[in-house]
Symmetry: C2
Subunit: 602 residues, 2 copies
Amino acid sequence: MTPSKTGISEKARITRDPFPESEKIYTTGSRPDLRVPSREIRLSETHHRDGSKTPNEPVIVYDTSGPYTDPAVAIDVTKGLPCIRESWIEERGDVRVVPLNERARPNAVSLPGLDRTVRVANEGANVTQLHYARRGIITPEMEFIAIRENMARELLWQSGQSPRILPSGLPEFVTPEFVRDEIAAGRAILPASINHPETEPMIIGRNFLVKINANIGNSAVVSSIEEEVEKLVWAIRWGADTVMDLSTGKQIHETREWILRNSPVPIGTVPIYQALEKVGGIAEELTWELYRDTLIEQAEQGVDYFTIHAGVLLRYVPLTARRLTGIVSRGGSILAKWCLAHHRENFLYEHFEEICDILKRYDVAFSLGDGLRPGSIYDANDEAQFAELRTLGELTEVAWKHDVQVMIEGPGHVPLHLIEENMREEERLCHNAPFYTLGPLVLDVSPGYDHLASAIGAANIGAMGCSMLCYVTPKEHLGLPDRDDVKQGVIAYRIAAHSANLAKGHRRAILRDHALSKARFEFRWQDQFNLSLDPDTARAYHDATLPAEGAKTAHFCSMCGPKFCSMKITEDVREYAKQADIEEAIQQKSKEFVEQGGQIYR
Amino acid sequence: MTPSKTGISEKARITRDPFPESEKIYTTGSRPDLRVPSREIRLSETHHRDGSKTPNEPVIVYDTSGPYTDPAVAIDVTKGLPCIRESWIEERGDVRVVPLNERARPNAVSLPGLDRTVRVANEGANVTQLHYARRGIITPEMEFIAIRENMARELLWQSGQSPRILPSGLPEFVTPEFVRDEIAAGRAILPASINHPETEPMIIGRNFLVKINANIGNSAVVSSIEEEVEKLVWAIRWGADTVMDLSTGKQIHETREWILRNSPVPIGTVPIYQALEKVGGIAEELTWELYRDTLIEQAEQGVDYFTIHAGVLLRYVPLTARRLTGIVSRGGSILAKWCLAHHRENFLYEHFEEICDILKRYDVAFSLGDGLRPGSIYDANDEAQFAELRTLGELTEVAWKHDVQVMIEGPGHVPLHLIEENMREEERLCHNAPFYTLGPLVLDVSPGYDHLASAIGAANIGAMGCSMLCYVTPKEHLGLPDRDDVKQGVIAYRIAAHSANLAKGHRRAILRDHALSKARFEFRWQDQFNLSLDPDTARAYHDATLPAEGAKTAHFCSMCGPKFCSMKITEDVREYAKQADIEEAIQQKSKEFVEQGGQIYR
């Protein structure tokens, strides 16, 4: 993934406001230190015509925002978040502490409060969640995910219970065993480095909720830890499930440390960016040794997944020469240049097993980069793209041999009718490893609106089984996203992911839609705002037309006014329908429908 | 269609700025008064490394903006646009002038300059484009459309030539015969009232470019003709193919007159809104006679299509009583209330043949309203919706018996996985009459972003064959759209329609994407802006990061900087690829691919 980094430069302040009428709740699992956060939205009562009232159940939603939206948690960004996974990691008894003088970058600690114990697997040990899963172990991380994906206040399963599987592949409810089995099969990854104990575990896989990623990067001038951390906090507030840190420049190590220590979501990086910094930006001077040291440096910091463009093979590079837009992936173009300059095979490909050996010692997951992804509709689904995808499939099998977790990156620019081929080929060639796509953008002519245009592709590929959608901001192709652009991108992708979750039939995701529509129909305006993905904007747009407080309880709205209100008229229809023979008519009608061929209805 | 009307209140000024580096061009057909407008975007030269330059062909795009973007045309909104179709209508010899005293509303002329000759079919005559098409006649309107849909400077066909048909149903190029045959089959409509001679003909049908509609409405206080006309001009500037006037209130007739006389695009209305005004907003007091007179009044003014909710049958109303969101269509709820109040069948259904008799005398097309469309994901694809659709299919056959043109309105709120059933059922039950959908929205939880969320559904149903997409603005469900909301809605739907056109394989639509991507790859920033759907925003976003004029010619951009630029590196790759044995490698590689199973590639 090489989309643009973020140039947020607003005055630093960590956003900690809770969402309106919302409470952070925790569901406790099988041990007291396994507390799974979610957000509960309180709803007002339904007022009936006869003056009676009915309460409405609160709605629980998946919450990516971490402790920042919990007023009960004191946060000091110079000390970082609590290490909620530390004891889980220690208890497994397969890691040792790396002494300061053995670390890849012993003197790099920028703030003493952030210095964490750095761990690595014991000699010969493999500490990946995939390794545990394949040995039948259910880790606390896996149980955490089962609770989280169910979006409920209570545990939904009993020990040994097997849920019914929906046609989309989703289970009716998620059990820890299901999480383990999906990871063991390679169909899902649980990105949780042993050096990032601050993470609230999450999962990326086709039979779970669709996830989204937001990219951030350091500013041209790094001003403060607050400023850098706020970018992360802002992105996860609106719903980013993971964040990629695409920072560049001299402060790259420190910035990443600040972000990791304060991040409750998995952090991904593209290590070749930092490696390239180390050789002054000259691609030809990259070496395996320098790259390897960079991987270890970042693994010791706690990066949860690495984008690695190991599928850009020397023989594929000429396939791009006749493209309309050549190689548009930054990582892909760096490696292509290196390959051609040395007339040698990609060193990431040649050293792939050594990379596996590193990753399994920290449980860093592969995000196998699509360095040859199409950069235009013209180049979509071409030979270069699918040749690389086939190689990524081979590498997936190599990684799995080492029990290292893998997801596969995908395009890019793909017209609507070619999206399905991407998903099916990825599944076929990469053996159902999770797919992680950038959009895709379904047309090229929308600069300024590429968040929207790519959300169309993202929603579609998500519904087809893509596991994670990398966001695109309105500034894509044009400039650096600011704070509002990041929010626009995240919301656009939450819309894409949620629409995919509905299409996949996620039982609890759909409850939020039903609750919002019920609130809308009953003119419970505040509930409608509070249930929406962006309550602030919904409320502001409403108030732009009808600012008075009374309008938020009025039984009509600004669009039609009291006389024309279709919802009001529908209430009348219901009153009529209650009368006399209407019930009978419904019965009769129902009978007729069956006679006339009821099979056309759901 | 009953989405919100527009509350634009900005200072009135008719926007007449041409698009940057663009020229309005006209292609002349078989007669000198048949001049088809399009927009030609001039491109700069490609600069090669060796200092040589190559010109880039200008790109021609479909242009909905009318004479407003042609600086050569003098426009006075108090006099209206030139009547380009008047002589075509007269020449057919099947209409007569309606004297002032015979008009439905003889005293309603608000501005003398706008008073037009009102026409009606001669006794017993049928003046619809469908009627002509079925008699084998190619009207000037049909020829106009053939030229327009081809988006070319030159005519692409020779007389009698039959184009190859793409798998999607689109022809390689459009001939007048193809236009006629699609209309004759009922698969397309050409909305062009004989009383709206100002229109530039356009077509709505599955085997043509996907069209979009924008809704406008009068402000609470009507201030001036300029203000009302500007709403129209603003919507068509950004790409609305038709506009629905959803005005209400006392000035409804005058506002519509102002819009019609100044509109180069077809205008649709929902006549029941005006009928309801006439009875003080009390649905029960509506009568057939009053509605009929309203139809004639609007037909004499030149409305091109009417939304008529004739499928809301008495027996379907109780089917909605158990819905989550009942009846959300304004027209649908008015008629449901009327039906129940009188315990009688919908008068639009009972008098449908009389409506046909009126419409064929002016060539007003039916837009058969989906009064029972779902208003939430919960209610999607339910019995009420499909029962009504079946009735719309029956009514389509009745309209066709009268040679009256028909399109079918569709939802609304539909999750991604249920969209296809909507399209297929519409085709099956309504015999391939064009489908015209509102969105659909693919989730309910996105108030404030419903333009984006519904563009996802719109793009999908467009790619499946939906002919026209009714826009949704960011203020949907919340308030009245302002000027910027209208633009956001139109651009979102142009993105949806264009992505559908690419998916359908429209040969000339895709040229714009290729040209923009080529410009992007060659760092021709100005060309990239000018080729985009919204050049103003693209330029402003670029300049927000790199405002200097030089940055628009720089061979790098703000996202990666000069060292990291993947496009720059790709240029190097191409240089390498030109050398020595690379050509041979391509040949060899190509051979290998075929051996390894070339069938996986397009």
